[in-house]
């Protein structure tokens, strides 16, 4: 079953590779000039052109592109001087740690809120939740991030300065997973753990708030739908305890559409994480790409897009698997 799911992800991966190739090589302008950088001499540009095979035909270039990808060659960054793959590998954990924390925060808040709103229609909680869902969708993430920094750091002084993953005087823990929260615990350094956690507060809140609205809306809608269903009515008609009806009969079924839309929420979340990384000077792959953009350094940007897309494809695969675990109909029918 897992194999079959992997197979369904394959066209997505192919599509991603083709599109990134097109973005890389086939768009207006001179790709060689892009990769050589703004400060390159005409001679350097010609060298790059030959080296990257940009003077060959498009199909040949595609083959070269695939070959390079297979070897893990995503080009070189002009600003860092490193292979893009190395840069991405170094910076990806930061992005993943932040995105995961943001998602967990959003789920921890949105699921209970959605359930409460659905079980108490017309109440204060319900109105607040609906307001939250509507306005939350309207908030530009970059703006909320800045406002949070202004209020919680500048005005109230509760949060640390938005200067990255650790306080300035700290050194990062030994890299095991790349996630500072985990690695600092593995290194048995509680002070480091706290430092990493403190720095994570504001960006996690920003991301969490961004994802809060759609998940809350979906949870509330799904719960309302399920609570009105025939099988919940049967459970009630059998006199089952309200808690059982709510969790075993209603919530589990409501999770199905929520998990389905989680894919879209993740698409949104991965996109806005770039913005959040910029605001908080978070050394993730989003900030990496933005720095490259400013410097007209082209290869990192494309490497970033490819990586994000592949991460997204894998996450969607995980969501599909999760859905299959919750809903037996999918497993058995296929």
């Amino acid at each position: 079953m897992v194999g079959r799911r992997l197979a369904t992800a394959l066209p997505g991966v192919v599509g991603v590779i083709v599109v990134t190739f097109l973005l890389n090589r086939a768009l207006p302008g001179d790709p060689a000039a892009y990769f050589a950088g703004p400060a390159a001499t005409p001679q350097a540009i010609e060298e790059i052109r030959t080296k990257l095979g940009l003077n060959r035909s498009l199909p040949e270039q595609f083959v070269l592109y695939i070959r390079d990808l297979a070897r893990g060659d995503l080009g070189h960054s002009l600003t860092t001087g490193q292979p893009v793959v190395a840069d991405l590998r170094a910076r990806l954990p930061a992005s993943l740690e932040l995105a995961t924390c943001g998602l967990l925060l959003a789920l921890a808040l949105a699921l209970p809120l959605g359930v409460l709103a659905a079980t108490r229609p017309g109440s204060g909680v319900d109105h607040v939740t609906r307001l939250l869902a509507t306005t939350g969708n309207s908030l530009p993430v970059f703006f909320t991030g800045l406002v949070l920094v202004y209020v919680l750091y500048y005005l109230l002084g509760w949060a640390p300065p938005p200067l990255g993953r650790l306080e300035v005087f700290r050194t990062p823990p030994e890299t095991v997973t790349g996630a500072y929260l985990i690695d600092s615990l593995l290194a048995r350094d509680p002070g480091l753990f706290l430092s990493a956690a403190k720095q994570l507060i504001l960006p996690t809140m920003t991301l969490g708030l961004a994802a809060l609205a759609p998940i809350t809306r979906m949870t509330r809608g799904a719960m309302l739908g399920v609570l009105a269903s025939d099988f919940v009515r049967t459970a009630r008609a059998n006199g089952l305890a309200p808690r059982t009806v709510l969790y075993v009969y209603a919530l589990r079924n409501a999770m199905l559409p929520v998990v389905t839309t989680l894919g879209l929420v993740l698409s949104f979340l991965l996109g806005v994480s770039v913005v959040v990384e910029k605001i908080y000077a978070w050394p993730g792959i989003g900030a990496y790409a933005l720095e490259a953009v400013i410097a007209s350094d082209y290869a990192p940007v494309q490497g970033f897009v490819l990586t994000m897309a592949l991460v997204y494809v894998m996450l969607n695969l995980l969501i599909d698997l999760l859905y299959g675990v919750i809903d037996p109909r999918v497993q058995i029918e296929s």
């Binding site: 009105a228 099988f231 006199g239 089952l240 009969y249 079924n253 058995i332």
Partner: protein, 323 residues
């Protein structure tokens, strides 16, 4: 075991729905009784209010519904006035219900055996192993051929008839005194229909369980019910012992209903249709809601209130001009 008086007594039940453009007065003064161990058939067209009455008795109405008057006395307790905790104790163990679309009425992502067990474990002290064993017995008791396999199956893996049997097993799991079966045979093929109704009858006889059989098919009820309650547009129009009702109906609607039911002796072209449809409940309605479809209507029929005329032993008609 049996108490004095009827097991269930629905008295003057009135119910309305809040809709966007008005209130829909779905039930108006509905009243009937079910005796201990008795099988009562509740019959009427779609929209007559039979299912809603059942939901009101069980207390699982949709949130937009509101009971505006009446009592539902079950074993001496008014279910409409009781608190939730008392009601939960009754539901599933003293009085239970099976629903029409059985597959939709079962949790789609939970094995059906577990769902039955949920009911058993909630209402009794049985331990998991004993509860499981009882569940398997119940499944066997509703003539499911392979209880072990069905125990772990999901509703979508079972046929409509099987799902209905599972529902019945769930409903009788705690030996209720009253089983309400809402259209238990609808949507099933003819053989399964007969089998399901036979099954309910058997279970009822074995444990002296009263049954309220709800159906739009008078023919089905004719063979199985001791008494019949006929509903039209939210009113009870006639109640009588089955034989008396079928032999000599006293309400024009009942007569039409019988005449329009397919029977072996009557050809298809000889079947009567009942003109018109159920009236719009949002509008102002005359005291008798059958008035505009009735060919015996007279000016006196517009006089409120709707009468209740005793025309025979245990035979009541809501008509000013009974047949």
């Amino acid at each position: 075991m049996r108490g004095a008086g009827p097991l269930l007594s629905v008295e003057d039940l009135s119910l309305e729905f809040r809709a966007r453009d008005g209130t829909v007065r779905v039930l108006d003064g509905v009243g009937f009784t079910v005796g201990w161990g008795e099988t009562v058939g509740l019959v009427g067209e779609s929209g007559s209010g039979k299912s809603i009455t059942a939901l009101a008795i069980m207390g699982v109405l949709p949130p937009t519904a509101r009971v505006t008057a009446g009592r539902v006395i079950f074993k001496g307790t008014d279910l409409l006035a009781a608190d939730e905790r008392t009601l939960r104790r009754h539901r599933g163990s003293e009085i239970s219900m099976t629903f029409q679309q059985a597959r939709a009425a079962l949790n789609p992502i939970r094995p059906v055996g577990w769902q039955i067990e949920d009911v058993i474990r909630h209402h009794t002290d049985l331990q998991p192993a004993a509860a499981r064993s009882r569940t398997l017995d119940l499944l066997a008791g509703v003539q499911i051929p392979d209880p072990g396999r069905v125990y772990g199956a999901f509703p979508f893996e079972l046929s409509g008839g099987m799902c209905q049997r599972v529902m019945i097993a769930m409903a009788v799991a705690c030996s209720p005194s009253l089983l309400i079966a809402d259209e238990p045979a609808t949507g099933l093929d003819v053989c399964t229909q007969a089998a399901v109704l036979e099954l309910i009858g058997d279970l009822a006889r074995r444990s002296d369980m009263a049954t309220l059989l709800i159906s739009h098919d008078l023919g089905l009820l004719g063979e199985r019910a001791d008494r019949v309650v006929v509903m039209h547009a939210g009113h009870v129009v006639e109640t009588a012992p089955t034989a008396a009702l079928l032999a000599a109906p006293r309400h024009p609607y009942t007569a039409k209903l019988i005449a329009s039911s397919p029977r072996p002796s009557v050809g298809l072209s000889d079947l009567v249709t009942i003109p018109g449809t159920i009236p719009d409940f949002r509008a102002q309605l005359p005291p008798c809601r059958f008035r505009f479809r009735c060919d015996r209507a007279a000016p006196e029929c517009d006089q409120p209130p709707l009468p209740r005329v005793v025309v025979g032993p245990d035979h009541v008609v809501a008509c000013r001009r009974p047949l």
